[in-house]
């Protein structure tokens, strides 16, 4: 045999034709984001739900404004406003049952409040008096998460654990467009799909990650498209249309609860304010762009729908605004009280039981504090 003949003789049989494990077609998002308000679909929407969404979105807007004002007064260390994104925040909270879990990012204070958290406790992290101001188990809201996308695998693990225990609990995890580039986003989606964990991932695509626009973040046709590669459905929704976000998320939650596994939802929205109060948005975007989004404001869309259908009048609007104003006044008043802090808390809850080393250090601080109080410190 010649060398060439030998090579041919040993050529392995080709592998079987490639078969996709899942038909990608039903997983693909629609080309256009799903909408309800201002379309024929709105007629089918539940009037009570629309009203509730409206009231919560208005409260949310007022909350954002109040929290931002508190940063100017030095009462909050920082506030990443979700003004413009209230529809997503509110729908994410309202779509969950009490036993379900919410995994917010640092921008999602509002979702936590809409889920029922005390507004002051929800601001603890941003106020700077502690990291998490609430017991996550009490409200089933994970701590507001600052490192990007790291809360996503937590949501998967929790949902997976709940399913192992036979509880029909769903976890909804929120992340920004920038966060979708992090490795943890990938790992979380992959785990969720492989384990068929009852998780809903909500990406709020608000156009920017601090200053970086979406086209520098990803080359994907949409962020919802990313789902397909993991074997889960991707859904695109108008993130300023509260009724649409609610409907898409509700469907995803139902799907998850019924054992259908995770869904990735991309809500297209816009951040109307700067990244935080400390950011200068004029460096990376023009007013015209912001103005264009004003016509598509989540409050406006709901108000138009409700008034057009005769479900809301001037008086109703005023009632909702008054209610929001009351919430803001209460928040302002309570935030204007100085928090009472005990420095000795620094050594609490590092471990279940303090180590000898921490006990020694606590004693040192105690002595320093006593000396300070006596005026005997050097």
């Amino acid at each position: 045999m010649t060398v060439m003949e030998q090579r041919d003789a040993y050529r392995p049989t080709p592998p079987p034709a490639w078969q996709p494990r899942t038909d990608p077609a039903p997983l693909l998002p629609d080309a256009e984001p799903f909408r309800v308000l201002g379309t024929d679909a709105a007629a089918k929407a539940d009037a009570r739900l629309l009203h509730q969404l409206y009231a919560e979105v208005v409260r949310g807007r007022r909350y954002n404004a109040q929290a931002t004002a508190l940063t100017k007064q030095g009462r909050l260390a920082v506030y990443p406003s979700s003004t413009g994104q209230e529809a997503c925040e509110v729908a994410a909270a309202l779509v969950l049952e009490e036993r379900d879990w919410l995994f917010p990012s640092y921008r999602d204070t509002l979702a936590a409040v809409a889920r029922g958290l005390d507004p002051v406790q929800a601001l603890t992290l941003l106020r700077g008096d502690w990291h998490t101001g609430y017991d996550p188990r009490e409200h089933r809201v994970a701590p507001l998460c600052t490192p990007l996308a790291t809360q996503l695998p937590h949501a998967v693990g929790l949902a997976h654990a709940a399913r192992l225990k036979g509880d029909d609990v769903v976890a909804l995890a929120m992340v920004g467009d920038g966060g979708t580039s992090e490795g943890d986003f990938h790992e979380a989606l992959n785990f969720a799909a492989v384990w068929q964990a009852p998780v809903v991932f909500l990406v709020q695509n608000n156009g920017f990650a601090i200053s970086v626009p979406l086209d520098k973040q990803t080359a994907a046709p949409s962020l919802a498209h990313k789902a397909v590669g993991y074997g889960m459905p991707g859904r695109l929704v108008d993130g300023n249309d509260a009724a649409a976000v609610h409907e898409v998320l509700a469907e995803a939650v139902r799907h998850a609860r019924g054992g259908g596994g995770p869904t990735l939802v991309e809500a297209i929205t816009y951040r109307m304010e700067a990244h935080t109060n400390a950011d200068d948005a004029t460096r990376y975007r023009v007013d015209a762009e912001v103005d264009a989004w004003r016509d598509h404001d989540p409050i406006l869309l709901l108000e138009r729908e409700l008034t057009d259908r005769g479900l809301l009048d001037e008086e109703g609007i005023r009632a909702v605004r008054d209610d929001a104003e009351k919430m803001a006044a209460d928040l302002r008043e309570r935030m204007n009280q100085d928090p009472v802090l005990d420095p000795m808390d620094l050594f609490r809850d590092v471990y279940a039981e303090q180590t000898t080393q921490l006990r020694e250090q606590a004693a040192q601080l105690r002595a320093e504090l006593d000396a300070e109080a006596d005026g005997t410190d050097r």
């Binding site: 994970a142 785990f191 809850d349 471990y351 080393q357």
Partner: protein, 334 residues
């Protein structure tokens, strides 16, 4: 009841036995990681667990360390006690973000509301002829992270006891498993596994009067050997096995050094910024008036872990320890 892994005799088997007993005792204990199920782990520590407890409790995960640690955080949030395996020391690094930002801090940031009863198993250290990224001593990274406990056994009995204690702990514990000792055997009786050791206690492995060798994990047998060899040179060395790096047992260590007046810290991870510096400083602070000589360190070189054919030059051996002991004949001004 099922009989387990015939007769555990090696350290790897003792770790496995501890996992098995913990899973049998508490249904909330779950094992997860790369290849831990069907294969039983690349070191076979988890051998038989998937078969006995099912793959819902001993789970082969996708290949993703951040994902493994991150999902384990969520599982712990829901009341499970996950035990995760990082396949090798250097492959834990993609998971550091989860470990440092969440595993270690969750209790503290939630003011005690959300403990993290999570055990992270990390096969670590060299001496097994591994290619690069398979022999790192990563203990200094873990020690530098408040909120984590860090333990590392040197005997088969401790492998069992510390693993059980780690899983029982309501705090996250990093169990550094000395790869080099996986196949070591000692007089541990597998029929009657020893009581669970409290985490945070060092133990005197060998009493002596002229100097203390302070060590842990893979360097313990080396120090025992050095102590034997030192007898010929007139040294009666005490060997303290730390067992737990965090919390650190100042009491046992200081008591020993006060007795002997001299100390050498021995470990195979690099010396600069390594655990030995911390230990030497603590000993000096506590025992200054008892010390006849500066506390010395015998550590690995401050180099990326060397290729297998050179690792014996890097790892502190008996001779290097004896050289350091000889230098303890300190005279002021020398």
């Amino acid at each position: 009841m099922t009989t387990v892994a015939a007769k555990p005799a090696t350290m790897a088997q003792a770790f496995g036995r501890a996992l098995r007993d913990a899973m049998a005792a508490d249904p909330s204990v779950h094992v997860l990681g790369e290849d831990v199920g069907t294969l039983g782990g690349v070191f076979r520590v988890t051998d038989g667990l998937a078969k006995e407890f099912g793959d819902a409790r001993c789970t082969d995960t996708p290949l993703a360390e951040a994902g493994i640690l991150g999902t384990a955080v969520g599982m712990a949030m829901y009341g499970l006690r996950p035990v995760v395996e990082m396949q090798f020391d250097a492959f834990a690094y993609p998971g550091f973000e989860q470990l440092i930002s969440h595993v270690a801090k969750m209790r503290n940031r939630t003011r005690g509301a959300m403990p993290m009863p999570l055990t992270v198993r990390v096969p670590y250290g060299g001496g097994i002829g591994g290619v690069e990224h398979h022999s790192d001593s990563s203990e200094a990274y873990y020690m530098a992270t408040p909120g984590l406990h860090v333990v590392t056994p040197a005997t088969v009995a401790d492998a069992y006891g510390l693993m059980r204690a780690a899983i029982a702990s309501d705090d996250p514990v990093i169990v550094l498993e000395p790869k080099r000792l996986y196949w070591s055997k000692d007089s541990w009786n597998p029929e009657h596994p020893t009581d669970v050791e409290p985490i945070g206690r060092a133990v005197v492995r060998r009493t002596g009067s002229s100097a203390t060798l302070i060590t842990y994990g893979p360097s313990v047998p080396v120090c025992m050997e050095a102590a034997e060899a030192a007898r010929a040179e007139g040294w009666d060395l005490e060997v303290v096995d730390l067992r737990s790096l965090v919390p650190f047992d100042d009491e046992t260590v200081s008591a020993s050094v006060r007795r002997t007046g001299r100390a050498v810290v021995v470990h195979e991870s690099g010396g600069f910024g390594g655990p030995g510096g911390e230990i030497a400083a603590r000993v000096t602070e506590r025992c200054f008036h008892h010390l006849e000589a500066p506390v010395l360190r015998v550590a690995g070189f401050d180099i990326p872990y060397p290729p297998p054919m050179l690792e014996r030059h890097h790892l502190p051996g008996v001779d290097r320890i004896l050289d350091a002991v000889a230098r303890l004949q300190w005279e002021a001004g020398s």
